[in-house]
């Protein structure tokens, strides 16, 4: 079952991305007010949702599991690091696609809107996590430091979420659902948006899974190299 998921995840994600591109570029109509630039929105909210909520949530959950003594295991640290690394990709793409949309819609590449700023800060916090991870240290010490930092970075996620309500900036509120859980988008536009959410979620899952597998293999390889070095040293001592 696990192997099936491992093998199927990538092709299914790719198929859904292709479907989203086809629906977004050719099937859905232009927006009444935005025209064709609305097509960027079949990508941007999905990237943002995955980057802000899923990546941050997964990194925080895995980090909490690492810090909790009963569940502490190296795999949680590797999973958190993988989620952050892929999260940086999604958050950066969120900012780039938002900027590309903002230029024709708002007339500027960047504006000091609360949601834009807090998303950029979350991206920088994640980059800081990666910087901390690259500092040479004992693997357990590094894992604990990074777990704490991931939890601290997660504090920014609610700020990003509520920023549009607290600060009333330029950025729109919820894209798909209103506060009363009524759909704000309809027809083929709605289906394309929902499909893009699913597609980006699967792409995220596939990327995290691959990164996690690489991290696990790196750790195993380090272990083997350490064992070999120790054996060599012991042999030297005997001879």
């Amino acid at each position: 079952m696990t192997r099936l998921v491992d093998r199927a995840l990538g092709p299914v994600a790719l198929l859904l991305v292709v479907l989203t591109v086809w629906l977004g570029l050719w099937v859905t109509p232009p927006d009444a007010t935005q025209g064709d630039i609305v097509r960027l929105l079949y990508l941007h909210p999905a990237l943002a949702t995955v980057g802000i909520y899923f990546a941050t949530g997964l990194a925080a959950l895995a980090s909490a599991l690492y810090l909790w003594p009963r569940t502490r295991a190296e795999r949680w640290d590797q999973l958190a690091a993988s989620a952050v690394e892929v999260g940086v990709v999604f958050l950066s793409l969120t900012l780039v696609t938002g900027s590309l949309w903002g230029r024709p819609a708002w007339g500027v590449w960047w504006t000091w809107d609360a949601r834009l700023t807090s998303t950029a800060l979350l991206d920088v916090l994640f980059i800081g996590y990666l910087a901390l991870r690259r500092v040479p240290a004992d693997p357990h010490v590094r894992a604990r430091r990074c777990a704490v930092l991931a939890l601290l970075a997660a504090v920014d996620a609610p700020i990003v979420h509520f920023s549009v309500q607290w600060w009333n900036g330029l950025h729109q509120g919820a894209t798909v659902l209103s506060a009363g859980f009524h759909f704000k988008v309809h027809g083929s536009m709605l289906w394309t948006l929902l499909l893009s959410m699913l597609a980006m979620t699967l792409v995220f899952a596939w990327m995290v899974l691959r990164r996690y597998q690489i991290a696990a293999r790196e750790a195993a390889s380090d272990e083997v190299e350490l064992e070999a070095a120790l054996l060599e040293r012991r042999t030297e001592g005997v001879s």
């Binding site: 810090l67 800081g128 240290a137 604990r144 430091r145 607290w166």
Partner: protein, 220 residues
């Protein structure tokens, strides 16, 4: 936990009183930053007055990174952590004590910088005095975040370069809320929801610090 916090705060403040790092290095740096900002803005009184809240908070933020680095540095001296561990002090208490000492130091720094605003930026003295409670709230948030991140990078060997990279994005909400709240008070209004934002940040980071300082202590 509270008794340990008082002990640690007393220890940090005694070290500060003897070493005078705050007086000779952190405060002059903050004042220097304020002077340089004023130079960059030019001599126009209106421009200086309009930029005063933002520049005050920026100077306080930058100087607080130095203060946080110094506070964490006290613990990273050879054998200090081991000795503290042997004393059996509560990790949450250590965090609260260090944060309290840092908050007190930042209050001194903030007071000096507010004097700088009066002299260099020509702000109204009565309105500036009315912004002090907001600044005090922000200082608590700054101290909690600074203590936590200081412990995070302590012992990495690259803490002086890594700390600003990690802590400044985390402190950005304090900068925004502090600047907006101070600007509102200096304009004759109240701090409004910005005081709430700062209070929430102080409580959240304080609580997170009490919980997470323990695991960080174990890494040192």
């Amino acid at each position: 936990m509270w008794r340990d916090a008082v002990l640690v705060a007393g220890k940090d403040l005694r070290i500060e009183l003897r070493s005078r790092v705050l007086l000779w290095q952190v405060v002059p740096f903050g004042v220097l930053a304020l002077v340089l900002f004023a130079l960059a803005l030019g001599p126009s009184e209106a421009v200086l007055r309009r930029g005063a809240p933002g520049l005050f908070w920026l100077a306080l933020l930058l100087a607080s990174v130095l203060a946080a680095s110094r506070s964490a540095g006290i613990e990273s001296d050879e054998g200090t952590r081991g000795t503290v561990r042997l004393l059996g002090l509560d990790a949450g208490g250590i965090f609260l004590g260090k944060a309290a000492a840092l908050a007190l130091e930042l209050c001194v720094l903030g007071a000096v910088l507010e004097l700088g605003l009066l002299v260099l930026f020509h702000v109204d003295a009565a309105r500036l005095a009315a912004s002090v409670p907001l600044a005090a709230l922000a200082v608590v948030a700054l101290a909690a975040v600074g203590t936590l991140y200081g412990a995070l990078v302590s012992g990495t060997g690259v803490s002086s370069t890594l700390l600003p990279v990690l802590v400044l994005p985390a402190l950005a909400p304090v900068l925004i809320a502090g600047e907006r709240g101070t600007a509102a008070v200096l304009a004759g209004g109240g701090p409004g929801r910005w005081a709430v934002v700062l209070a929430v940040m102080a409580v959240v980071y304080g609580a997170v610090g009490v919980v997470l300082y323990g695991p960080l202590e174990e890494t040192a």
